[in-house]
Every structure is written in C-alpha cells, then in structure tokens.
C-alpha cells in the first residue's frame, strides 16, 4: 500500500496551478470592462477547475476505483437541482399579492382586480 502518486512533483505542479488560478480569479474580477455576467462565468469556471484539481489529485479520486465517482457526482447534481428549483420562488421575485393565494386569481391566473 503506498501513495498512488509516486513522486511529489505532481503535487507541486497542482499547487502552483492552484495559486496561479487564484491570482487569475482575483485579476479577472477586477477587470470591470468584462461585465458582471462574464466575470461570474469565468470566476465559476476557474473555481470548478481548481476544485477538480483538488478532488482528482490531492484527494486521489483519479486513482480510486470507478465506483467512488458517483459518491461525489450525485450530490453535486442534487445541489444544482435544489438551487435552481428554488429560483422561481425566491430569486425571480415574489409575484403574489397578499390574499391572492387564499382567494385565488381569476381564471387563467390573472391578478385579482382589487
């Protein structure tokens, strides 16, 4: 039984990559000309890359048997589902007027006339 990674060189390469990617994240977030949306997409993409490096190499997932993978992939999918499923009720605003949910709107869901 031994470390699946034979020499420490790989760990140092991953480490330097993580630091460089962190610098990139900070750097691109300060470039306001890109706009919020692009900043967020790039930031998340970098974070996912860094996370993958940690999970695959530091946590040795790359060297584990394949049945390990669903244990981390399934919760991540579940997390995305529960976050996005909440968007209509919270993130996209609350469109009910007080009393509407009790008395109901008119047919077709139009707003009540009072």
């Amino acid at each position: 039984m031994s470390d699946p990674v034979k020499s420490t060189r790989l760990y140092w390469i991953v480490f330097v990559s993580l630091i460089v990617l962190t610098a990139l994240t900070v750097g691109q977030s300060q470039i306001h000309g890109l706009g919020h949306t692009l900043n967020r997409i790039i930031g998340l993409a970098i974070a996912i890359t860094k996370g993958s490096l940690v999970v695959l190499f530091f946590m040795h997932l790359k060297y584990e048997k394949r049945y390990f993978y669903p244990v981390i992939i399934f919760p991540l999918i579940l997390v995305l589902i529960i976050i996005f499923a909440n968007f209509p009720d919270t993130a996209f605003g609350d469109h009910t007027t007080p009393g509407e949910e009790i008395h109901g709107g008119q047919e077709g869901g139009a707003a009540p006339s009072h």
Partner: protein
C-alpha cells in the same frame, strides 16, 4: 469474499484501506449537502436582493480573503505531503507536515477573526441580523470556520498516533487529509462567490 476474509493475506489492509476511504467519501457527500444548504440560500437570496450584496461587498476585504485562500491551498499541499511521507514510512516528515497544516489552519482562523472583528466593530455593527446578505455571509463562513477548527483538532489528535502508522497502516492520515482537502474545496468556491463576483 475469500480474498478479504484471508487472515494473513497481504491484500487485507489494501481492501480495508479502500473501504475506509470510501466511508470517508460518503461522509464528505453529506458535507457537500450541508454546505449546499447555506450556499444555495445565499445564491437565491442574493438574486432576489442584489443591492444588499453590492453594499455588503464594499465592506468585505477581498485581499484578506485572497490571502486566506492562499493559506488554505498551501495547507492542502502540506497535508497531501504528510500522506505521501507516511506512505513511504517517514514518520518524522509526516509529523512535520501535519503540524504545518495545523498551523496554517490556525492562521486562516486568525485572519477570519480579524475579518469578523472588523464587521462587529463597524458603525453601525454588522451582524447576521443586518440583512439577508450578511446572515448568509456569517452562516457560510462561520460554519466553514467551524469545520476548519474541527480539522485542526483532528490534526492535533493525529500527531499523537503517527508513531503507530507506516506504509501499510495510515488510513486515518489519509481520511483526515480527505476532510482537510474538502474544507479547502469549500473555501475555493466560497471565496469568489462571496467576495469577488
């Protein structure tokens, strides 16, 4: 099942080690769901009230958080080196790396302490009650900090047991390392979504 049941087979510890790691991964899966609750709430609450985040981020110090990110990344390196050393039977170097990891974790918490103190000392004081942005902030970073503290305690415990470990017996070191990397992983996502974006 025979190869696992073999009393003196050299594969026993390999199988047992693999099962121990798998158990740890199952626990980490539950931890993913734990943090998903707070991070998910932060995402939807922030989308509903983006102005709160804009105001809040002006008060947050991203340079301090960036330093903390670097601190945790270095601590992940020292942790994985600790596992590497014990897998080669080098107890001394393993102990050194475990101690270094614990010290770096403590530095992270000290910097976090300064951050929190700055919020409470703000005028008016910023607390979890200030707004939904701030309650999300304190919950996410607070629970993450508690996880770091738990990891430091586990690392200190490890130090007392390293003398029993060796190349065929170091599952606890690997499992504490898996936990520690997970804590780093959470911060890798927290840092950009709270401080930068």
């Amino acid at each position: 099942m025979d190869h696992a049941a073999g009393a003196h087979g050299s594969e026993d510890h390999v199988v047992a080690f693999e099962r121990a790691r798998f158990g740890m991964w199952l626990f980490l899966a539950s931890e993913i769901m734990f943090f998903a609750g707070f991070i998910g709430a932060y995402v939807v609450l922030r989308m509903a009230n983006p102005q709160l985040a804009e105001a809040g981020q002006h008060v947050l110090s991203w340079p301090l958080a960036a330093i903390n990110t670097a601190v945790l990344i270095v601590s992940s390196l020292t942790m994985v080196l600790a596992v590497h050393h014990i897998s080669k039977g080098n107890r001394g170097k393993c102990e050194d790396m475990i101690m270094l990891t614990a010290v770096l974790g403590t530095i992270f918490l000290v910097i976090k302490g300064f951050e929190y103190a700055a919020k409470f000392g703000h005028s008016p004081p910023i607390t979890p009650m200030t707004s939904s942005f701030w309650s999300s902030y304190f919950l996410m970073t607070g629970f993450h900090g508690l996880h770091v503290l738990g990891g430091i305690i586990a690392l200190i415990f490890l130090l007392f047991y390293v003398k029993n470990y060796g190349p065929t017996r170091y599952a606890k070191v690997e499992n504490v390392a898996l936990y520690w990397h997970f804590v780093d992983l959470v911060w890798i996502f927290l840092f950009p979504i709270v401080y930068l974006l």
